[in-house]
């Protein structure tokens, strides 16, 4: 499911024309079905072996099989109504092969028998063979040792699918009530829960069974000014997390107090919506920003998206090489810049790390979708570009002899390819709090929450909005601003990084909907940071008269 389909399922966007209302290839099921166990591991192994044998007998030199059961639950409400409770299940098998030196892939829904998976394997081989004549050189796959029969489970403490629907509805009704009581005209709130049950098998000898959970509580409140006919919104400051229902139990230590409360590994939805309703109302009276240069103080609930777009994407090796040229684009961070070993991606304070193991993150998993054990590695060290994100058929290009383990497919029906790991900005090494950071800023804007976002296809020029904007004058917060967006250039921006708060402020943000590939696929990814200061960034005013 992509971002727009999701907006649609929630009824939160005004979109809705011509768009599907359910995730593609999913079926709706009863909530209890989400707790049923899927096909057992022994059967999965049998189905996978049948596909691998069939592919081999047709001439495949490599085969991997992904048997996936993907469960989603959405509880969607507005004001005093439950709009929709959707439970979806999608089960099927995708088979990827190399035959005559070329990739081929075929997927089949609801495959239950060895004959089903063998047929998909044969189709994949036929496709590979038909396309082999369009290859200049055969696919070169980095060696990968087989791990045998292994498993991995996300370390959650409360499976969200075990929580009764009524409890979820009651929570959202309470949230909506608080919004309306505190000045919102409308409120849409949602609980979005995901469980990916993935089985991977390859002719390298790995059979990996994995259980992944994700959780995202979110809302939008709208406040209308009847006199002007204008409306303002404020979205939740929650993050989608690789967690279970325990994310909704916030301990005092999970809360970062300040001009508004922000959250770490536990989220207080009721407290946030109460603040949001008041803030949406207050935005009507906020000062419209004067365009110009400002020092920006960016909260992790905002900065994650800037990291995602201006670091995560340009350092994907498939983009650097041109595999995404027809859609997501290429990258300014070309191989010569990396080879020079002195390309200043950012200031000396900037350390950017890729990590597929970070606990609670959306990207955490034991093995990637081509059977590579996951790890952490540096992308930018003390400001210098040092590495990319790469998978098995690419790593030889950057002189590595094993994949970095960041291959992913969003469904059994999609072919796996290089996707972004969690990419995060390391916390500052010297103690620094947000209050201390703001104290040093003469003319600045403090931005909390993510808003609109856009970046060019090589990741130079970007523009970001936000949820909350506060003017900083001579080290003090001087009041709320609106109509703010900043425009910059990736290298210039990261080189303007002047201070990073310490690890006490480090938090994750993230997205369920990182889009890439053709046909497009969505991937869930987290980005961590502490509050960070960037000097002299160009801010524009986005208000228009019609």
């Amino acid at each position: 499911m992509n971002r727009r389909d999701f907006t649609n399922i929630l009824g939160m966007g005004t979109a809705g024309l011509m768009l599907p209302s359910l995730p593609a290839f999913s079926r709706t099921v009863a909530p209890e079905a989400l707790l049923e166990t899927g096909v057992d591991v022994a059967t999965k192994k049998r189905l996978a072996d049948a596909a691998m044998n069939a592919a081999k007998s047709r001439g495949a030199t490599y085969t991997d099989v992904r048997i996936g059961r993907y469960l989603n639950q959405f509880v969607v409400t507005r004001e005093d109504k439950v709009q929709n409770i959707v439970n979806t299940e999608s089960y099927g098998v995708g088979v990827r092969v190399i035959a005559d030196g070329c990739w081929g892939f075929a997927a089949v829904v609801d495959a239950r028998s060895e004959a089903d998976t063998a047929k998909a394997a044969e189709k994949a081989v036929a496709i590979a063979k038909a396309n082999a004549r369009l290859m200049k050189e055969p696919v070169q796959l980095a060696p990968q040792k087989g791990y045998g029969e292994v498993s991995w489970k996300a370390p959650i403490t409360k499976n969200a699918f075990e929580v009764p629907i009524k409890e979820k509805v009651d929570l959202l009704m309470e949230v909506n009530g608080a919004a309306l009581k505190n000045g919102a005209n409308y409120v849409n709130s949602v609980l979005f829960m995901v469980n990916e049950q993935k089985y991977f098998a390859s002719t390298d000898g790995t059979y990996a069974d994995q259980d992944i959970h994700r959780m995202w509580p979110l809302f939008t409140v709208t406040a209308i000014d009847p006199k002007t006919g204008k409306f303002e919104t404020r979205q939740s400051l929650s993050a989608p997390m690789g967690m279970g229902y325990e994310y909704l139990q916030a301990n005092p230590s999970d809360k970062i107090t300040g001009i508004t409360t922000r959250y770490n590994k536990g989220y207080d939805m009721l407290e946030d919506v109460t603040a949001a309703a008041k803030q949406a109302r207050a935005k009507h009276a906020a000062k419209s920003v004067e365009a110009g240069k400002y020092d920006l103080v960016l909260d992790p609930s905002h900065l994650w998206l800037t990291i995602h777009e201006s670091v995560g994407h340009p350092l994907e090796l498939d983009r650097v090489l041109g595999y995404e040229a027809n859609f997501a684009g290429t990258s300014f961070a070309t191989l010569d810049k990396w080879k020079s070993k002195n390309f200043n991606y950012g200031s000396k304070l900037v350390n950017l790390v890729a990590d597929k193991t970070q606990v609670g993150s959306l990207g955490a998993v034991g093995y990637d979708d081509e059977g590579v054990k996951c790890k952490q590695w540096d992308l930018v060290k003390d400001g210098t570009l040092v590495n990319y994100q790469a998978i098995r058929d690419q790593v030889h290009i950057i002189g590595e002899n094993e994949s970095q383990g960041c291959c992913y497919a969003d469904s059994w029906s999609s072919v796996q390819f290089q996707r972004m790991a969690n990419v995060s900005l390391a916390a500052g090494k010297t103690p620094l709090s947000v209050q201390q950071m703001i104290k040093d800023v003469k003319k600045g804007i403090y931005i909390i929450g993510d808003g609109s976002f856009s970046i060019d296809q090589q990741r130079y020029n970007f523009q970001f909005g936000g949820q909350l904007f506060y003017e900083i004058k001579n080290g003090e917060i001087a009041g709320m601003l609106k109509d703010v967006a900043y425009q910059s250039n990736t290298q210039e921006f990261w080189n303007s990084c002047a201070a990073v708060c310490d690890e006490k402020d480090y938090r994750l943000g993230g997205s369920f909907f990182d889009g890439k590939g053709q046909p497009p696929q969505s991937s869930a990814v987290s980005h961590g940071s502490s509050t960070t200061r960037f000097n002299g960034v160009n801010v524009i005013n986005t208000a228009r008269k019609i």
Binding site: G13, R27, A106, P226, K230, Y323, N326, R544
Partner: protein, 445 residues
Amino acid sequence: MATILTEAEAKTLLQKVLSYSKADECEVNLSGEERGNVRYARNEVSTSGSLTNQNLVVQSSFGKKVGTATIDEFDDASLEKVVRRAEELARLAPENPEYMGVLGPQTYLKANGFFDTTANITPDTRAEAVAKSLQLTRDARLTAAGFMEDRHGYSAMMNSKGLFAYYPSTNVNFSLTVRTEDGKGSGYVARGYSDITKLDTAAATSIAIQKARGSAEARAIEPGKYTVILEPTAAVVLLENVFFNMDARSADEGRSYFSKSGGKSRLGDKIVDERVTIYSDPTNAELPASPWSGDGQAQQKTMWIEKGVVKNLSYSRYWAQKQGKKPLPGPNNVIMMGGNSSLDDMIKSTQRGILVTKLWYIREVDPQTILLTGLTRDGTFYIENGKIKHPVKNFRFNESPIIMLNNLEALGKPERVVSTESDQNYLIPPMKIREFTFTSLSDAV
């Protein structure tokens, strides 16, 4: 059972499913599809695949309590089981105050969106189509990245009040980015058809090659307000954000561009230049679409904006009843009427302006004005004294399609285009717009 059922086969199956129903109302949706794709980059094929999918959805209701269950097995026992499951879920569900009940029999327009030529595509057909494209880019020492995807399938529905609907369709989309070897030039082309015989990958590739070569060595010019000529591929990604917002409920609730103060909407207001007319019509031969919407309502030819005036906003059946209006489903296709100018005429009549062939990464900055941001991409050219002078570096823009359609200078002939943002196909003319707002420069090629 076959994946793609004929109308008669679908009818028989749906009747059987309904025969098991004991609910007050029951509605069944059935669909099947086969998809295939091939993707290439760096002048060779990268990934490709195929997908087979089918689905049966049963919705049962008791009063305003509604339950839905789905299945993809079609033996008698499974069919009865899915109906029982939907009924159990309906009994357990909270009342849905917005549930309007199922519709009775409807009369649908005849739309022809299914072409055997497209349905019969094999992996070899795709490989041949791509080989033609690759031949040209390899010979020209340029680098190609492209994608071709085809789909054929059908959807059908039937309910306990006697409604039956069936629509088969086919589609093929082809897109290609060609870059110069030094990475200084980039050109794009996209084509969408219902009938694959209309797809000429070689001709399309030549266009992308021309743009790639023509866009190399771009010069920087100052951002600011310029007259722009938008090719349909560029215009559509802005305009579709207007279409997506044409919903009565959000307008009436005061939270869309189509809202006015005091709980009113812009329905009936002139919002853009009088040469702007936008409508939907499932029977359009160039852009056929399903003659029924997801809930079984008939799709008619519908004016959305006529001579600059908002003629219709879509009303769900619930919202229509609440507001005392006629329900109107959102369109299944969108067509914008054009004018007489050719792209050449528009360039010739331009003293100083920019030709924009594609836009990228469109996001809404302010929903009150539909202010959008994004960038030009894959071929942007400076026009002076009626001639294309040279390629220019890409710009970021911040502009509203509403403001843009008020600053309309000329319209060309509508073409079928594929939105690079939503993948939807539309019929959209090229257009010339004055005072389009570019806010910064980008080094991206």
